[in-house]
Subunit: 618 residues, 2 copies
């Protein structure tokens, strides 16, 4: 199985990515240059990532007392990725970028996520540098962002602390001005940071010459107290090794120490670290405290960081989708070749046992069994649907950046509403797809001789990475569908209605269009019902079931839109790919969309079963 | 958290296990002797199993070229288990058993499954010996079963082959008579077996002096051909080491060789092997071929084996339930102590953001968050419900063995219908519970510093072990609900109706009773609709969604019955345990039972989406 035809259809036929070349920023590009990028990434992923996916799982990162050791395969893959130029693919020509649309970058990255999600650590480096391109000074961009885009250095984002994971307002890392002249450092106002950061991906390794940490910390007030809440948070660049304004290493180690490697269930190729900032193990100028340079304004750190988090969430969603896809392809391949059992048939004689099999006939391949087909089609509908959603969101990012004022603002607001779904939905349902891929393999699926158990383990982290389901759901129902008077939800509804209007005229889709309309109306009325008392504790008590129903409705819309376009491109509907998309759409509408009823019931009545139970009754 | 109060309630208050002592077989027993058994097992599980659960995960079984090496902890735990006498707990006094009800044995085993599911390998040994007590000769019982019950030897069941996992009719292991006098061996008609057996749990190790394999094989006809289908299958005892009629080892190795250890995702403490029978590495009397002694009649092997498989399926269901329970307790404990975030509250001013938090207040423990409570209550409803179902089935086993003729026959038929649910439902939903336990832990949940990720991995095997979901579902809809004119389903419906009738008179349960009635009616009509055309390919195309809906309906009934009894025992409903059971019941009816609609829709219309899709469209 090759991902490419699916990706080409979604990019060019469905999202019309080639039309982006009409915009000034992308005017040097053409379908040919896009294809060349995809070709390159597909090749590197196949040659350098996929063959090492099991190696990075079994050879976990370890610390030899001085350095974090990663397998040689990770170094080779990283080198090939850097050489491809993908780290700065979407950046301006004048800083060495390709000025590629983000849509293309997201599509290209999907190859790496599918081949080996835990080798591919470029996302944080790009995201880190992108943030500096928006909020950093010219010098910070020149010294830090450029060296990240070139792959010479890598980047992290240091948000969580051991006592503050989801609750960023409780960040306790302190940043104090470094001397009276702290304002005059050319790299930015200089502070000394002290604190512990947990779950830091790629927090230490030898893949690059240096590591650029972007760190959330609080600057104490005159009394030495930290401001409660997120308003007190500022953002700092904290390099692992000190650098000068020319981007050269000064030979001095910054006071950032690896305190531990987390040993994980999956995604093992990427180091996941606890870092101690400023504990004094590596004093700079004879003083404890990690040197950090302020980015943006004091107290606006979280605002700046959110710029990075939204693309990171699309990145996590894409990773989840592609892990699902990897399992789908593996199980499809297995199902087409593995013989096992025979088909049931109707008995010749009345009154015989209802089910007979002709045991003298040869075994059939398991793809001939109805239940195996159900498990395959479910995977297809989850994973190709999720990929389409992520690419749709990526296309909105381009619209936000290069569309006209109205289109850009609409895209911004649609992204606000869709990002929680883009993050959460694939992490839940493509994990389920991975479980089905194991199931298709039978006993072989749970052995490490087949790749599917690792996909499942790797994918389990995605429901937690970059904001848990609970965080995403509170964001969706508590903020996103309410903001700007509910206009984001209205915009989304208008896009769905446009799809329904087109579908209503196509015989094959009329019933789907009606079902989608009913689902959308019910999501709308459930939103109102949740907030009917205006009490957020009641409204949000069932925020996750709400998000699940919202997500299934979005995916039903995505599939209907994809199916419509597929039939427009192949009116006879005879090409296998078209039949596949129509089949996956039918599956989604017949088997999946009806699930929203059970989820929305509890939202609509603000079901208090869980909140009302006394703690000692659990 | 202690399992014991839950177990005591289910055993004594709900299932009235103490009343079994009125039956002659159990008349020496009392609640006191039952409690003593539970105390002992609880203690051994706590002291010898739980502390080693991570060790057996990280120190996988390995083969040193001669022996399979297991951690010392496994040897210690096995020794303590053997010394407890639980291997023969349900057996007659005259062969050294305790004549305990199977219900008590199942309850006692739940401690071991919760403490370390993959150390506990007693189930196969008991099952193997039980089979011989029914189908073996007196000599086979004396030599093999007795030495298994005493723990001197252990047992396996060798069904699957690399090319025949779910499809037992394709078993290709051959058994040919061993010489002209093959009928005259005192241990049973002697054959020589040749073939490969896959997925054999505890297939090789040094825990016991010898291993008694029970092996499915086919005896070729006069032309040397194997009879196709399951009718040709016979059953053989194949000891790892040859023994004499006194049960002494003769010093001769039988021709059974370890061909490989399967490296698994979870359940790593139990060896899982590929065994080669009769490849000639260990010739007996100078001849290749593993010596095997026929059990029961030629061609009746599968019939004999099914005797063992039904209890094995209850055992797998119990293991799945208890893995879920272990995760529930771990995440409940974590949620009660981990501070993170604050509760949302209503803003004081109109027009402010809908959700505010007081960031100056201390963090709350995460059990105070609505979504964490939802995840905890879901786990409780899945896992305690599943345990109740398994104990109910165990009680039916006792009824089948010791009830009066009508009760015994009803129990037999109810077990036929319920066994696919007892096997499949916990393996699906207690796995989901384990995923929720990870989610409650946030990032810590996916690290190996906390136990929940292992529970999740261990549990993933249960949807495949002892017959996949697909196999169970085909058994349920293709055979069990149809057999004897549908009388099994009618018996089950009558029991549900009795519960509903009791519940209808209790204000707190009237709505639940009505919902259960509607669910039952819908399962009934879906069963008819599935078979409306009489075509098994159409009926069984959606057998798994059917089984999911059937299972949820059964669990709703179990919970309603448990809740009724709980309120009878504590009419005020004020005890925390009562409130907990009523809460879990409400959760199940409000959040879970409504899911059956989506599953049954496709069953009712015999939805052909998956079967109709051309293979090249996947």
């Amino acid at each position: 199985m090759s991902l490419r035809p699916t990706l080409d259809f979604l990019l060019y036929d469905w999202l019309d990515a080639a039309a982006l070349n009409e915009r000034e920023r992308f005017s040097d590009h053409s379908r040919e240059t896009f294809d060349a990028v995809l070709d390159t990434c597909e090749r590197i992923a196949r040659d350098k990532y996929a063959p090492s996916n099991r190696i990075v799982d079994t050879q976990e990162p370890h610390f030899d007392g001085e350095k974090v050791i990663l397998p040689q395969a990770t170094h080779d893959a990283h080198k090939a990725f850097v050489e491809s130029g993908m780290l700065s693919a979407a950046q301006d020509y004048d800083i060495g970028g390709m000025q590629l649309p983000y849509t293309l970058q997201a599509a290209a990255n999907s190859f790496f996520a599918m081949a080996s999600v835990s080798i591919g650590s470029g996302m944080l480096t790009s995201g880190n540098a992108n943030l500096l391109m928006v909020h950093g000074t010219a010098m910070q961009q020149e010294v830090f962002a450029r060296n990240e885009f070139s792959g010479r250095w890598s980047g992290t984002m240091c948000l969580s602390e051991p006592q503050a994971g989801s609750s960023l307002s409780d960040v306790a890392t302190r940043a104090v001005p470094d001397g009276v002249d702290f304002q005059s450092d050319p790299l930015g106002p200089r502070y000394r940071l002290t604190g512990n950061k947990m779950w830091i991906s790629s927090g230490d390794h030898e893949l690059t010459e240096n590591i650029v940490h972007i760190v959330l910390a609080k600057i104490p007030d005159a009394d030495g107290k930290l401001v409660p809440g997120t308003r007190g948070i500022s953002l700092f660049i904290v390099p692992k090794k000190m650098v000068d304004t020319g981007g050269a290493l000064t030979g001095v180690r910054n006071d950032v120490a690896l305190a531990g490697l987390n040993h994980k269930l999956g995604w093992r190729g990427t180091t996941n670290t606890l870092l101690n900032f400023g504990e004094g193990r590596f004093p700079v100028d004879g003083k404890a405290g990690a040197v950090g340079y302020l980015v943006g304004e004091v107290g606006k750190g979280l605002h700046c960081m959110f710029h990075m988090m939204n693309e990171a969430r699309i990145g996590v969603g894409t990773a989840a989708a592609m892990l699902g896809m990897a399992g789908y392809y593996a199980s499809l391949d297995y199902a087409k070749t593995r013989p096992q059992g025979r088909l049931v048939k109707k008995p010749a004689a009345e009154g015989a046992s209802a089910v007979v099999k002709d045991s003298a006939s040869p075994q059939v391949r398991i793809i001939e069994h109805a239940d195996v087909r159900r498990m395959l089609l479910a995977q297809k509908s989850y994973c190709e649907g999720a990929l389409a959603l992520e690419l749709y969101c990526a296309r909105l990012v381009d619209e936000q950046k290069t569309g006209d004022a109205q289109a850009a603002d609409d895209a911004r607001l649609l992204l606000e509403v869709l990002t929680p779904i883009a993050k959460s939905w694939p992490s839940e349902w493509c994990l389920e797809a991975n479980s089905l891929a194991i199931q298709v393999h039978g006993g072989y699926g749970y052995t490490r001789d087949f790749p599917v158990e690792q996909y499942w383990r790797d994918n389990r982290l995605n429901m937690i990475h970059e904001g848990t389901h609970g965080i995403q759901a509170a964001d969706l129902l508590g903020r996103k569908v309410l903001m700007e008077g509910g206009r984001g939800l209205q915009l989304l509804a208008a896009r769905m209605q446009a799809t329904m209007a087109r579908a209503a005229g196509v015989a094959a889709f009329a019933a789907h269009a009606q079902a989608l309309g009913e689902a959308l109306a019910r999501v709308g009325s459930a939103t109102k019902a949740a907030w009917a008392t205006g009490n957020p504790q009641e409204a949000l008590a069932n925020a996750v079931p709400y998000m699940q129903a919202f997500g299934h409705t979005v995916l039903a819309w995505i599939w209907l839109d994809v199916a419509l376009r597929s039939l427009e491109c192949d009116a006879a509907g005879t090409a296998p790919a078209t039949a596949g998309r129509l089949g996956a759409t039918a599956y989604f509408f017949n088997y999946e969309l009806p699930k929203i009823g059970a989820w929305l019931q509890v939202v609509e009545r603000r079901d208090p079963t869980c909140t009302a139970l006394p703690e000692d009754a659990f």
